[in-house]
Amino acid sequence: MTDTQFDIAVIGGGPGGYVAAIRAAQLGLKPVVIERENLGGICLNWGCIPTKALLRAAELRHSIDEMADFGITVGEVKVDLAAVVKRSRKVAGRLSMGVKHLLKKNKVTVIAAEAKLGAAKDGLRQINLSNGDMVSAKHVIIATGARARALPNIEANGKTILTYREAMVPETMPESLIIVGSGAIGSEFASFYHDMGVKVTLVEALDRILPVEDEDVSAFVQKSFEKRGIKIMTGVKLQAVTSDANGVQASIEGQDKPLQASRMILAVGITGNTENLGLEATKIKVDRGHIVTDQWGATGEAGIYAIGDVTGPPWLAHKASHEGIICVEKITGQKDVHAIGAGAVPGCTYCRPQVASVGMTEAAAKQAGHDLKIGQFPFAGNGKAIALGDDGGFVKTIFDAKTGELLGAHMVGPEVTELIQGYAIARTLEATEAELMATIFPHPTLSEAMHESVLDAYDRAIHF
């Protein structure tokens, strides 16, 4: 190795780490990314991207069932699971190569190794690498991400009890499946496996599925899932899970008969990868599996920062990327760097129907003491949605009655994950209902429902 001294060392090449490194290079620094496995991290390789490839296959499979409505006759339909999974892996591989190229283009050094923090000396932090080498850097950004959290009484075995990682590369389709946890990951797998013909039971400890979303959205998705035949159990406390050659048995508090299925997926949240980093010898604090930082990513140890999933929820790639950028900009003293504001991170779930939101839920806005103006518009009143044959769902907007601030927007239905950025931009620009009303939304598009929802909040909806 020729270079061993850097301005910034980024541990972890996921969407937080590689973006931070590129931003650092843009600002004239000399960065290094140390990645133990795949560039692009979980997001590209085992998360966001490959699941979207799988869900696309499921969506197409589902569309075929509706072809008759469009006047199209389809012959015998066969799903080649191996090919579906292979395509998903190919998509992930292509993007990981893309990240490699981007880092090279920006002259970011990439080292394939595990990293462990060493001593600080002369303003440089030493980092010991698993390949026996050592590098040093003025600043270190920990972007090691997270992994599936285990439940105290359930151990994933990778065969019958799976985490997202195995669930993404099934060799065979199980006959039946229990999914524990109904957040984004659990709900997406429920949607995918059900569309692929698996009997799915979605189990949630809280009183509703997608518990971080607005209650109206949770209720709509639950109804829609149930209509499709997904079994949903909420307020469920799992007691013990056993597995044998026949499958999985889960005993539930207050029920005599255990739940049975061929396999189980655990999707009960994630925990930060904080181990074996040498944090013990520093002032860095770890709280419940996550590194404690300030709003700029600074840890308790001078010169060491942490961003992304390893620092806590929301566990989202775009949050990690943004944190990486502001962390580097803060380190280099850029002007007008602002920490991520409350409710500024949009969230998307790619189950069928899609879910997208930004800002506060109605309950949260009420609890915060706002007087509210709430609008809701169903896609059933949207021409484009009807033409697409996908008119389930709605757009809900929540405004502060006094200031017109868009406190939150919640969408469920066709392509809403592509639509939510419109409201995110409005919030960043601090638009009020007046600007949103005064904006012309093109016809016919799904986005008209966004306009109508705003109008509805002020009793001015035209098409409903």
């Binding site: 007008d336 200031t403 017109g404 601090e430 009020t432 209902e433 007046a434 600007e435």
Partner: protein
């Protein structure tokens, strides 16, 4: 290449200023370090030095122009080897962003028309104030405008933290509230009748108006007055000055500042500032002293006054007062502090109540030291007595705390030996 000279920001909060005076004319030779113009902000007049050598090619903003936006090009220097016409040929033209020129008449006329008020805020947003071409455009988010209008906060004085200085909601929320200027319709009418005339308010005048109006409207003032016998203090001052080094002359006011500083340390609860969610308590006695200057007043601060002996204190106050009168104070010399002293004793004022200088928690109004009859143990005697009145912000300082502070102050003043400890 021609060198653009831009309106400088003299303080972190400055967004506009008045170009008071040009000290060079077009065609004049300018050397780096030369003072070329004077800029007036809300509180001070500052000199603008050239950082380059060259010839003044073109002045874009005339002397006396108000509300010149920070960063606006005010003039162009031709570099050595260039002529003014080269600069013109280089295509450098007057900046397209309008440089405001406010005439008093125009302003009065404009103000006579009240801004449209929206009854139902839901239906319309207050329009950006682009109507008057003589004001620089203010970049602010719609939400920031709405909140500012709702809370009666003027956007003009707010520095934006958004992209390119755009004012965002957080800026409005953190800005000190300054009520929107009242209409001067009545005055404008009077002008036409010729029995009164208008004087354009200086930045300083406007700042004083908005800050003190703010203070009286928001800080619940209460007033406590005590009489202090200052014969001992005058005696002590005389003997100190007799022994002081050449050039040091301790004033009564210096001793009052010293006594007030000691009292703030002795009664730390009185050294407080109201901040809404919190009350800020100060470890030092950072005392602002009101200095009357042409066209208004300014309150430079003696930082950590309790740590300064009388000789050092005297040097600091003499220097601050002199530079205040010359308009040469830097912004950080009159921003901050926790307590103010205003002394009108030299005008023969017996006692008065002062308006708190926000965000301070209190202000001490000092009257004249005069001989008065007093009763000591049932006998009439004559003593030099000075009445002082403490105005305190009741949100941060309670009556009993204020009274204890005054008691401590009186103790130091009447037994000046104790303040020398």
């Amino acid at each position: 290449m021609a060198i653009e000279i831009k309106m400088p920001a003299l303080s972190p909060t400055m967004t506009t200023g008045t170009l008071a005076k040009w000290l060079v004319g077009e065609g004049d030779r300018v050397n780096s370090g030369d003072v070329i113009a004077e800029i007036e902000t809300d509180k001070a007049t500052m000199e603008v030095e050239s950082v380059d050598d060259g010839v003044m090619a073109k002045i874009f903003v005339d002397a006396g122009t108000e509300n010149v936006a920070v960063g606006a090009v005010i003039a162009v220097l031709a570099e050595d080897g260039e002529t003014a016409s080269d600069v013109a040929k280089a295509g450098l033209q007057e900046p397209s962003s309008p440089v405001p020129v406010t005439s008093v008449a125009a302003e009065a006329k404009e103000r006579a028309e009240p801004a449209p008020v929206t009854a139902a805020p839901v239906k319309a947003v207050p329009a950006p104030k682009t109507k008057s071409s003589d004001k620089p455009r203010i970049f602010a988010s719609p939400l920031a405008r709405r909140i500012a209008a709702d809370r009666n906060i003027a956007l003009e004085g707010i520095t934006g933290s958004g992209p390119y200085g755009r004012i965002l909601r957080r800026d409005v929320e953190s800005a000190a509230t300054a009520p929107i200027a009242q209409t001067t319709a009545a005055l404008a009418g009077a002008t036409q009748q010729g029995d009164s005339y208008l004087v354009a308010n200086s930045q300083m005048r406007k700042a004083i108006a908005s800050r003190l109006q703010d203070s009286k409207q928001q800080a619940p003032h209460f007033y406590l007055t005590v009489d202090c016998v200052i014969d001992n203090l005058l005696e002590a001052r005389k003997s100190l000055n007799a022994k002081a080094a050449e050039g040091i002359k301790i004033s009564v006011n210096d001793m009052i500042i010293r006594a007030a500083a000691m009292a703030l340390i002795a009664v730390p609860e009185a050294n407080a500032s109201w901040e809404g969610e919190n009350t800020r308590l100060f470890r030092h006695a950072d005392i602002a002293m009101a200095v009357a200057i042409d066209g208004g007043l300014i309150t430079p601060i003696v930082w950590a006054a309790e740590q300064k002996g009388l000789a050092a204190l005297s040097q600091v106050t003499t220097d601050l007062a002199a530079r205040a009168r010359d308009g040469k104070l830097a912004a950080n010399e009159y921003t901050g502090g926790s307590f103010t002293i205003s002394n009108l004793g030299m005008f023969g004022v017996r006692e008065f109540a002062a308006v708190i200088n926000p965000p301070h928690g209190g202000i001490l109004a000092v009257g004249a030291g005069e001989q008065r009859p007093i009763v000591i143990d049932g006998n009439l005697a004559v003593a030099t007595v000075m009445s002082v009145t403490l105005s305190a912000d009741h949100r941060a300082v309670d009556g009993a705390v204020g009274a204890r502070w005054l008691q401590a102050f009186k103790g130091f003043v009447e037994n000046p030996v104790t303040m020398l400890l």
